[in-house]
Amino acid sequence: MMRGQAYRWGMGMAGLLAWRNLAHDRSRFVVTLVGISFAVVLIAMQIGLFLGFTDSATNVIRHTRADFWIVPKGSRNFEITMPLSERELYLARSVPGVAHAEALLVQFAIWKKPGGGDESVLLVGADLNTGLAGPWNIVAGHLEDLRRPDTVMIDRLFAETLGVSALGTTVEIRDQRARVVGFTQGIRSFTTNPWVFASYRTAQHLTQFAESETNYVIGTFEPGADPVRVQDALARILPRTDVDLSEQFAARTRDYWMFTTGAGASVLVSAVLGLLVGMVIVAQVLYATTVDHLPEFGTLRAMGAPRAFVYKVILSQAVISATLGHLPGIAASLLLAKASESGAALVLIPPSLAVGLFGVTLIMCVFASIISIRKAMDIDPAMVFQR
């Protein structure tokens, strides 16, 4: 005998009753699902933005194949730099367990567009011989091209902002001429200042940075060396610096941008608001459905149905709504995330978030059904005789 989807899902007659009660009023059910989907999209986009921002805030650090970062003492992030003496580089190289150390230059600079107008950019100068730092995801041009003097690479995302339409465009950085020889794809920046990649020498020349100074010393450990031990040794010999393992520096930068600046908090607050809005919508509709079917709950109680059965009907309504509302919501969110890849703000929705959001939706719907349960339990079963 055909007993409907809900029954086959193992929810019994309570599940069937829940499903049919929901499906009975089709337009309201659609409103419920749209409401839940909307909440899911809202939450997914906010958390996705948060993850996207986090990703953008640390992408250059994470794509640098260094084991350790030596940064000026008190540095709070990667972008806003202070000078470090070249001496620190030589001292670092002398520490046992350090296989290699090199300097990395990171400087804000004014970029003059070929067609006029200025843009503030973040210039990254890296030693191209080691491959530790520098551009990645190169979609036009070759890394080798950066070895020629006064050449730079930018990301496609920022090409328009920077007034660059094709390879070979000549621009001015800090009033020095430079030529764009390559494009990367998808290297975003949390500060919204475009990244400009160059060789160390070019960066030094363009920014007229003193030979004796740099911004960071990055390097690798000897194979088999104990990272924490070498880190301690570096910290001892370089008292005016902070020595971070790669992930520690990424965390330092991420925490600064996401939490110290409040940027992350505001996104998370929006996510919580999305959750609350969703909860109110769902509570409202589940409550209306429950009130509509109140006499049936009275009949059940009069027949002697245990409280658990009534709970099961209402919770099944919540679970069914959550499941059917989550799917279109997450589908729409994934589409929007896909679309964001070519936009200014990246929305990241990893599979764990998509699945985790189902849990959130479920909890949201179950919480929203609590008042309905109270309403259904409040009715006097004797009322079924008094109509």
Binding site: L300, G304, A305
Partner: protein, 221 residues
């Protein structure tokens, strides 16, 4: 001799208190036996529904006691009362109280599942009330009499020894009304159930084994 299916002594029920208090029942004795259908008759407001609710363990009397198959119900906690209703009684209501979103068979299956019975018993129960061909119809697709017969099939799920019906024919024309009461009488006689039917309709009373008249909360002799 075994205990009566239902036995009540000295039932008194007062709704409200003070000036607005209504004495709906006043010292009612009542008994229902297996194999017997009784009609409970009386004018509007005489206390019929009130008595039925007390017999059905849905309302506690102000005074007096109720025994279900010999067991005193006073003092039983609510879950135990619910279990007693579920396992020992079937209810039939004036307005059917079917689940509108479920088919006839599914309506019966809700009761079967609650009582821990096999859902496959539903077709036979509907067959018994003459609705073997309407298993998959929704209540809105059934006539009043058919709806009430689905309700009876639902009340019969799990074979409870006691059936309590409050004006089951009030919404039906006299032909359908008589058919429903005949069905209840047949269930009492053939399946040895104790059936109590509240009704206004004297033609329904004629089909009962016994008529109990009630007026102003008192049984009339």
């Amino acid at each position: 001799m075994s205990a009566a299916a239902l036995e009540a002594r000295g039932l008194t029920l007062v709704y409200g208190s003070g000036e607005t208090a209504v004495r709906a029942l006043d010292g009612v004795d009542f008994q229902a036996n297996a194999g017997e259908i009784q009609a409970l008759m009386g004018p509007s407001g005489s206390g019929k529904t009130t008595l039925l609710m007390i017999l059905g363990c849905l309302l506690h009397p102000t005074a007096g006691e109720v025994r279900v198959e010999g067991q005193l119900v006073a003092g039983l906690p609510n879950p135990a009362l619910a279990r007693l209703r579920l396992q020992r009684m079937g209810f039939i209501f004036q307005s059917y109280n079917l689940f509108p979103a479920l088919t006839a068979a599914e309506n019966v299956q809700v009761a079967l599942e609650l009582k821990g019975h096999d859902l496959g018993e539903a077709p036979a129960l509907l067959e018994l009330v003459g609705l073997g061909g309407r298993l998959h119809n929704f209540p809105r697709q059934l006539s009043g009499g058919e709806k009430q017969r689905v309700a009876i099939a639902r009340a019969l799920a799990g074979a409870p020894p006691i059936l309590l019906a409050d004006e089951p024919t009030a919404a039906l024309d006299s032909i359908n009304g008589r058919a429903v009461v005949k069905l209840l009488a047949q269930l009492a006689h053939e399946q040895r159930r104790a059936v109590v039917v509240v009704t206004h309709d004297p033609r329904v009373g004629d089909l009962a084994d016994r008529i109990v008249h009630i007026e102003d909360g008192r049984i009339q002799c």
